[in-house]
Amino acid sequence: GDSVTQTEGLVTLTEGLPVMLNCTYQTIYSNPFLFWYVQHLNESPRLLLKSFTDNKRTEHQGFHATLHKSSSSFHLQKSSAQLSDSALYYCALSGTGGYKVVFGSGTRLLVSP
């Protein structure tokens, strides 16, 4: 079945440094949709950005990601971390079937002054 792998459970950064959170996926579906959701403390997940177009950069709120089907990756990046970026980030995949979204295990980002 479909799966999403986020290798880092916790990423700690100093404010101002670049952010990169890894996401790789597995699916037999040739046109998967990939998502990044962010969950701040005591809140519910909300969409940060999404993509289904190969090799096209998607941007939102200073974050960006590019879907690379050749490497089955959808890494999340930001040029300069802010304190308010501290949150839990989920990579998610909608592939086979269309009504099932599979979430990765999440990466907690902690940004310190």
């Binding site: 519910s44 009504y99 099932k100 979204v101 599979v102």
Partner: protein
């Protein structure tokens, strides 16, 4: 403004009891979901419904049963709760299927003593 509503916010109960959680969305979406978020923040899909029809039924214990009266409502009943059912149950909705952004409710935190 919250567009996916869940009740109750919290529920504490004892092993073997029955519980019911309610979810309503006012977004006019066709698809609704139940997710379980455990203490390690793993987010796993349990069920998805499209226009009140069950589409996805993941490998959850039989004591879990979803109920949908119309496309705006999706409830979850758990017969005879177990300690491992302690978690946050998140309801979500999307326009049609998993290719669209999901909007999450605030969640129901279940504690089983």
């Amino acid at each position: 403004e919250t567009a996916v509503f869940q009740t109750p916010n919290y529920h504490v109960t004892q092993v073997g009891n029955e519980v019911s959680f309610n979810c309503k969305q006012t977004l006019g979406h066709d698809t609704m979901y139940w997710y379980k978020q455990d203490s390690k923040k793993l987010l796993k899909i349990m069920f998805s419904y499209n226009n009140k029809q069950l589409i996805v039924n993941e490998t959850v214990p039989r004591r879990f049963s979803p109920q949908s009266s119309d496309k705006a409502h999706l409830n979850l009943r758990i017969k005879s709760v177990e300690p491992e059912d302690s978690a946050v149950y998140l309801c979500a909705s999307s326009l049609t299927g998993g290719l669209y952004e999901q909007y999450f409710g605030p969640g129901t935190r279940l504690t089983v003593l």
